[in-house]
């Protein structure tokens, strides 16, 4: 399928990311607390959405990721803020 990344490679990448984040989650009491730490919305936080256009860009990126996943015939089955992570480009 043209333009669709290799799912296996993508899953390997996400596994690495998930392992790194699991270490962070050791400091959390529960998944909901973790999400609170990861998605603090204020101007000083590197992961914050400072404005609506920031949020729109992130949501569009999230939708694109799921669109690609669904186009390959797979579904995630457990999407929630705790499994989606924000990365800033350099």
């Amino acid at each position: 399928m043209q333009g669709i990344p290799n799912l296996g490679e993508e899953l390997l990448k996400t596994k690495v990311v998930a392992n790194r984040l699991r270490n962070m989650q050791k400091f959390c009491d529960s998944a909901s607390n973790c999400s609170a730490d990861l998605f603090v919305r204020n101007d000083n936080s590197p992961n914050s959405f400072n404005n609506y256009s920031d949020l729109a860009r992130f949501v569009k990126s999230l939708l694109k990721a799921v669109e690609i996943l669904h186009a390959t015939g797979y579904a995630h089955g457990d999407l929630k803020i705790e499994v989606s992570f924000i990365f800033r480009s350099e």
């Binding site: 996400t14 949501v59 800033r88």
Partner: protein
């Protein structure tokens, strides 16, 4: 300096064929993203893809109003029913396309009926009313309304009517901001 934010999704443990019709283990599943048709037996066909679509809608509401989230946490069966009621209430929908009356189903559980949508229905006010805390800070009502519209279309109570991720990417929220 402008920065691009990119989403990466992890934890595919419950993933599978998008067309699979999966009856989740309700005691183990984190039902804060569980579509209501899995909880209240309303006899509507649902699959993993429509489940993802629903979850995306809830996620958008959570990002929009964070830390006042829309989700409900916990595995208590009563909380699970309350969550299903909350989803029908956010839409103000009582009667489903297959004739099932949500309030009749809720009555059997002892929960309050859902208020049906009226002509003066304001989706943003209704969503805010159902959040876990009151939203503080300066908001743009027009932009909130666009995000809420997208979220609710992804969270449609009829699984077959939920926007696909591709359709959602073309929503007017992305051209108006």
């Amino acid at each position: 300096m402008s920065t691009e934010k990119t989403a990466i999704i992890a934890d595919f443990g419950t993933g599978g064929n998008k067309s699979s019709i999966k009856r989740f283990n309700k005691s183990a599943f984190p039902f804060n993203m569980m579509p209501p048709e899995y909880i209240l037996d309303v006899n509507l066909k649902s699959d993993l893809e429509s489940h993802d679509r629903f979850a995306l809608g809830v996620m958008i509401l959570n990002y929009l109003y964070f830390p006042c989230i829309f989700s409900m946490n916990g595995h208590d069966p009563v909380n699970r029913l309350r969550w299903a009621r909350k989803v029908y209430q956010v839409h103000g929908i009582v009667k489903l396309s297959n004739g099932v009356n949500v309030n009749s189903k809720l009555a059997a559980t002892g929960l309050q009926p859902v208020d049906e949508k009226k002509s003066d229905w304001d989706p943003v006010k209704n969503v805010k009313r159902l959040l876990k805390c009151s939203v503080k800070g300066k908001r743009d009502d027009g932009l909130d309304a666009l995000f809420v519209d997208l979220a609710l279309k992804l969270m449609d109570v009829e699984p077959s009517k939920r926007l696909s991720a591709q359709q959602a990417g073309l929503h007017k929220v992305f051209t108006n901001i």
